[in-house]
Every structure is written in structure tokens, then in C-alpha cells.
């Protein structure tokens, strides 16, 4: 088991390194494909009508004059071991994990991201609790009462749920419950440490909006999984040996129907922690996703690298946790 975990961790680290390399390459190659030179790239980050000297200085400071692999190496080195930037006579030390300074605002990137993480975590975790409970419950009930009015109604609703774009449901809920009938007026993020009640109250709409989409998805998945499991032979065996139906459903049916759901849940949560871009934009929540959109519209490379690396990190870690849990939960899965 330990050897398995170690192997998986090493594979995850390699995957992360590859992802950062590709990200780096893409964001350096794409502007060049569009026909920009490194001087033109540097020109974006200097004021209007820069002198050639100023341009050259910026180009050097930002490292645009170095070969691509060297720039990537310094980036990776900064994350693991910190980095020192020299601007003329001044030197500034950027501590671990160093994602550098924003090209535009010249502020360090990492503190900016960590200050936004609680928003995204609050949003994703709260929604996850709602969607796992409702999605799985509805899916199981639908499967057990297949063809009933409840089944038809909830599956119809679920189909609608997966067909509605989240930014539309977000705007709709804002228009209805924040503006028309102001149940949740003036939505803005309040840190949980400052006022837990207001924190929760202002997140109710985003939570429900996000959870609606995922509940629909999970209800459909759970129902399909449950239907398949309940037609297995071992369920008949369990019934035949006289177990109460309740135990058959929970111990034998649900347990094996839920294992694939755990995988998907890990991936979805990992994906959302890296920034719930659409939801955050629609609700104007100052989370990592909004930061990412900002970084991208500003074409601010250190910020872009930081958010993509962080997002990839969450996905890879979620994958890792799921794989390890899988082995722990499902005795049939053997690790190699």
C-alpha cells in the first residue's frame, strides 16, 4: 500500500511538471505564433511610448531575453526554493512558493491568490455538500422507484438541470431573489471569520445555483449506477439469504454503486477548487476563478501561470486522493 501511494505521488508530481511546462510553452508560443517579438511582448508592460532602453530593461527583468527552458526552470525553481529578482541595484527576495510578481501591478502573485482561495473554497465546498446529498439521494430513490411519478419528475428536472447553462441560472436567481424579491439583497462575499451568518447567507444563492447543475448530473449518474447494481446476481443472493431490503440496498447496492461516483466527485471538486470561473463571474465573487479571468484578459503571464498551476495541482491531488481512497474502499481494486 505504501509503495503504491509513493508511486502514485511520484507520478502526480511528474504530471504536474509536464502540465506547467506545457502551460509555459503555450503562453510563450501563442503570442509568437500571432507574430509578436519579445520586445513587443515587453512593450505591453511598459508605459506609453517607451524608450528603447526602458524596453530592453523590462525585457531583461522579465526574462524575455532568455531561452524558453531557462525561463521555465527559474519559474519552477521559484515555486520549490524561492527566487531572487534583481531590478537594477535593488534585489527582492520572493519566498517559497514563489510565483513571481505580476507584470502589470508588480505585486507578488502568491499572496493575492491565497487571499482569494477562501472564497473559492467556501463556494465549492458548500455547493459540494448540497449536491452530493441531494444528487445521490434523488438518484437512489429514482432507481428504487423506477418508472414512478417521482422518478419521471426528478429525472425530467435533472435533464433540465444539465441542459441549463450555469451562468444563465446564476443570472436568473440573481434577478429573482436578489433584485425582484430581495431575499438575498446586496450579495457580496463576507469572510467567515468576520461574520459567519452573513457569510452563509450571501453564499446561499451561489451554492444552490452551482449545486443544482451538479445535483442533476449526480442524480442521473447515481440512478444509472444503482439500476445496474441492483440487477446484479449478488443482490439476488443477498435478498435470498433473507436480509432486510434496507440492508440489501444500503450495504450491497449503494456501496458498489457509489464507487464510480466518488471518482467523479473528486475530479469535479478538484476542478472547482481551481476556480469556479463561470459562477464566480456571474455572482461577482472575488475568487480564484475571477482572478484567472482577470489575469488572462490582462495577459499577465505570472498570474496565468500561477492560477493554471494551482488548478492543475488541485485536479492532480484530487485524482490522487480518489485513487488511494478507491483502494481503501473497494477491496476488488488491486493496486499494482
Amino acid at each position: 500500500m505504501t509503495a503504491y501511494i509513493v508511486r502514485r505521488v511520484i507520478a502526480a508530481i511528474i504530471l504536474l511538471i509536464v502540465v506547467t511546462m506545457i502551460t509555459f510553452a503555450i503562453f510563450f508560443l501563442v503570442p509568437r505564433l500571432a507574430g509578436e517579438t519579445s520586445t513587443q511582448l515587453a512593450a505591453q508592460y511598459v508605459g506609453r511610448d517607451p524608450s528603447p532602453d526602458a524596453l530592453a530593461a523590462v525585457q531583461k527583468n522579465l526574462g524575455f531575453d532568455q531561452p524558453l527552458y531557462q525561463q521555465w526552470w527559474e519559474f519552477a525553481h521559484g515555486i520549490v526554493a524561492g527566487r531572487t529578482f534583481r531590478y537594477g541595484p535593488d534585489a527582492s527576495v520572493c519566498h517559497v512558493p514563489c510565483f513571481g510578481y505580476s507584470f502589470k501591478s508588480h505585486l507578488p502573485v502568491w499572496p493575492e491568490i491565497t487571499s482569494r482561495l477562501p472564497v473559492t473554497i467556501s463556494l465549492a465546498a458548500g455547493a459540494a455538500v448540497i449536491w452530493v446529498i441531494t444528487g445521490v439521494a434523488i438518484g437512489v430513490l429514482s432507481a428504487l422507484k423506477r418508472g414512478s411519478v417521482f422518478d419521471r419528475f426528478s429525472m425530467g428536472l435533472a435533464l433540465a438541470g444539465v441542459s441549463l447553462p450555469i451562468f444563465f441560472t446564476a443570472l436568473l436567481s440573481l434577478a429573482l431573489f436578489s433584485y425582484k424579491w430581495p431575499v438575498f439583497p446586496n450579495l457580496q462575499y463576507v469572510p467567515i471569520t468576520q461574520n459567519p451568518v452573513l457569510w452563509a447567507k450571501n453564499l446561499v444563492l451561489p451554492w444552490i445555483t452551482l449545486a443544482f447543475l451538479y445535483s442533476a448530473l449526480y442524480a442521473r449518474l447515481t440512478r444509472a449506477g444503482m439500476l445496474e447494481t441492483m440487477s446484479e446476481d449478488y443482490i439476488r443472493t443477498a435478498r435470498a439469504k433473507g436480509l432486510p431490503e434496507r440492508q440489501v440496498v444500503i450495504r450491497h447496492g449503494l456501496r458498489s454503486a457509489l464507487t464510480p461516483i466518488i471518482t467523479i466527485f473528486g475530479l469535479d471538486l478538484g476542478l472547482l477548487l481551481g476556480g469556479a470561473v463561470l459562477t464566480e463571474t456571474a455572482f461577482s465573487l472575488p475568487g480564484v476563478g475571477q482572478y484567472a479571468v482577470e489575469a488572462i484578459t490582462d495577459n499577465d503571464l505570472p498570474k496565468i501561470m500561477a492560477v493554471t498551476t494551482l488548478a492543475a495541482f488541485f485536479i492532480v491531488v484530487a485524482n490522487l486522493v480518489v485513487d488511494v481512497l478507491y483502494v481503501a474502499v473497494d477491496p476488488r481494486v488491486r493496486y499494482r
Binding site: 506545457i22 433540465a160 488572462i296 495577459n299
Partner: protein, 332 residues
């Protein structure tokens, strides 16, 4: 994920007695897989409805320009006279619905919403179909190769899919489409935006297709008919194209149909974030983006593009679910 669409009860079960009973009276004709699937599909009314809507939408999208010309709809004509100059919202109720403007007009500028929805339909479907075609092509080719050849080919392709799935896709798509906005590969304007979206979405959606096709190929490869073909001297390409590919057509059709709505949502999402289709070209996501700042003045404005996306995506989902139930015998 099958019911409530799939056929249940006696209709779904084979009835050998009735088949036997018919022997004396008329000759039994063999039915092809396609005929059987079509028979099942016809019985599924919900899926049929979805299919009809999809056909209508595709026709509308293909004929968007002629339709606009015939009905005198101009998606970019400003009607400032229809806008309340203080509140910026359209005069009249429901966003200024009238005979001339059946879906109302846009707040602030007064452009006709019906015209913009029609205009948005072809952009949306062009991107979704293009991206799906790209994803399905890459996914099928690589998936079949990984499943059929196995060994190091499988390892390389599977790891590649893992890497793609570990990428924060939406961020990448946003970043790529944002940084290519100015002009690239000698393309400009709308052509560029549509090509970039097709490329970005298709390029990130293929691993899902690839995994499904790889799995199907793996199980098909071990089947007797493949062994039979090989034992009669068939070689790689023949087995691939004549034995495996025909059996993969059903999953390819089903998952392509289910990939289209995902890609429609993806395109709308990117345009909503302002990195997809750029104004003045009308797009459904772009209209929702405008409505972020305008929904308080005119809530009707966001309902129109929102419902357009919803109906389109729902219709494709219904069609896809129905096709899966019809083509996959296991689903009953």
C-alpha cells in the same frame, strides 16, 4: 442515465412466439442494425421530439442569412426610438415585444432580439459541430489505435489523455481564445473567432471520446469475429476498417450527439466570459454577458438567449439519450 426515455415493459422484450406465429403467413425479412435502431427510436416519443427540434434548429442555423433577408430582420440595426432614454430599458412590457419585434428588443441599443437569436444560432451550431467533428476525429483515431495496438502505443496515448484531463480546461480555453483574439494564422474577425473556438473546444474535448472508443476497441478486439478474420489472414488495416470500425459506429454516433450540447454550453460559456465570439456579431453567450449589467433594467433580455441555449441543449440531450437507448441493446 437511461429512463424515463427508454422503452420498458413488454414492448422491450423479444417475443419469440409471435415471431414463430408469423412464419406460415409471410416471409421473415432480416432487419439490419440500423432498421432495428430506427424502429426503437420511433417508439421513443420524447427522443423523437428532441430530434424534430434539432432538425428545425439545424435548418434555422443553415438558413439564418436567407431567413433574416426574407423577413427583413437586421441583427445589427439600432432602434434607439424604442428605448426609454432614462431607464435604458425598452418601452412597453416584456422587453418591448411587438409585431415588428416578436421577442422584443435589446435594452440600451434596441437591436431586434429575434434577429440576434437567429444570428446566434448559426454561430453556436457551427462552433459546436466543428468542435465535435474535430474531437470525434482525434478521439476515434487515437482511441482505436490505443485499444487495438496496445503495448507502448496504448501507454503513450493513455498518458496523453491523462495529461489532457489534468489540465484546467476552461482556464486554457479562456487563455487561448483570449490571446488569439487579435489575429493569427492569417485569419481575422469572425472567421478567426469561430476557428479558434472550434480548435480550442475540439482540442480539449477529444480525450473523453478517446477513452470511450479505446474501451470499446479493447473489448471488441477480443471477440470471436476478429479472431476469425485474423485466422483467415486479415491484416491490421483490414481488421481495423472492416471489422472494428463498423462496430464502433453506434457509440461514435451516440457520444457525438451527446458531445454537441456540451460544446454548445462551452462556446456559450466562453462568449459569456467575453473571450469567444466578439461583438458586434450576435452570440447567445455574448447576449447573456451583456445582460449581467442590464438585468436590473430589463430582466426579459437575459431570458431570451438563456432559453435559446436551454432549448437547443435540451433537444440535443434528448436526441442523444434516445439514440443511445435505440442503438445500445444493453440499455433495455
Amino acid at each position: 442515465m437511461t429512463s424515463p426515455l427508454d422503452v420498458t415493459g413488454s414492448a422491450a422484450e423479444a417475443q419469440p412466439e409471435s415471431v414463430l406465429a408469423g412464419v406460415g403467413e409471410k416471409t421473415i425479412e432480416g432487419r439490419s442494425l440500423g432498421q432495428i435502431a430506427w424502429m426503437r427510436f420511433k417508439r421513443d416519443r420524447v427522443a423523437m421530439a428532441g430530434g424534430v427540434v434539432v432538425v428545425g434548429l439545424v435548418l434555422l442555423a443553415v438558413l439564418a442569412k436567407p431567413v433574416e433577408a426574407v423577413f427583413g430582420l437586421d441583427p445589427n440595426a439600432f432602434h434607439q426610438e424604442l428605448i426609454d432614454p432614462v431607464l435604458l430599458k425598452p418601452k412597453g412590457s416584456f422587453g418591448g415585444v411587438s409585431w415588428a419585434h416578436p421577442l422584443g428588443v435589446e435594452p440600451q441599443y434596441g437591436r431586434d432580439l429575434l434577429a440576434r437569436i437567429i444570428e446566434g444560432s448559426w454561430v453556436s451550431l457551427a462552433v459546436a459541430f466543428g468542435a465535435t467533428l474535430l474531437a470525434v476525429t482525434i478521439g476515434t483515431v487515437l482511441g482505436v489505435m490505443a485499444g487495438y495496438y496496445g503495448g507502448w502505443v496504448d501507454t503513450v496515448i493513455s498518458r496523453l489523455m491523462d495529461i489532457f484531463l489534468a489540465f484546467p480546461l476552461l482556464l486554457f480555453a479562456i487563455a487561448l481564445s483570449a490571446s488569439l483574439q487579435g489575429g493569427a494564422f492569417g485569419l481575422h474577425g469572425l472567421t478567426l473567432h469561430i476557428s479558434v473556438l472550434i480548435f480550442v473546444i475540439g482540442f480539449f474535448a477529444w480525450p473523453y471520446m478517446g477513452r470511450i472508443i479505446r474501451g470499446q476497441t479493447l473489448s471488441l478486439r477480443e471477440r470471436e469475429f476478429v479472431d476469425a478474420a485474423r485466422s483467415m489472414g486479415a491484416r491490421g488495416p483490414y481488421v481495423l476498417f472492416k471489422e472494428l470500425l463498423p462496430n464502433l459506429v453506434a457509440p461514435i454516433i451516440v457520444y457525438s450527439t451527446l458531445l454537441i450540447p456540451t460544446n454548445i454550453l462551452f462556446e456559450a460559456g466562453l462568449s459569456f466570459l467575453g473571450v469567444g465570439i466578439q461583438p458586434p456579431q450576435a452570440s447567445w453567450g455574448g447576449m447573456l454577458n451583456q445582460s449581467i449589467s442590464l438585468y436590473q433594467a430589463d430582466p426579459w433580455f437575459m431570458v431570451v438567449p438563456g432559453l435559446a441555449i436551454f432549448i437547443t441543449v435540451l433537444a440535443f440531450n434528448l436526441l442523444g439519450d434516445g439514440l443511445r437507448d435505440a442503438l445500445d441493446p444493453r440499455s433495455n
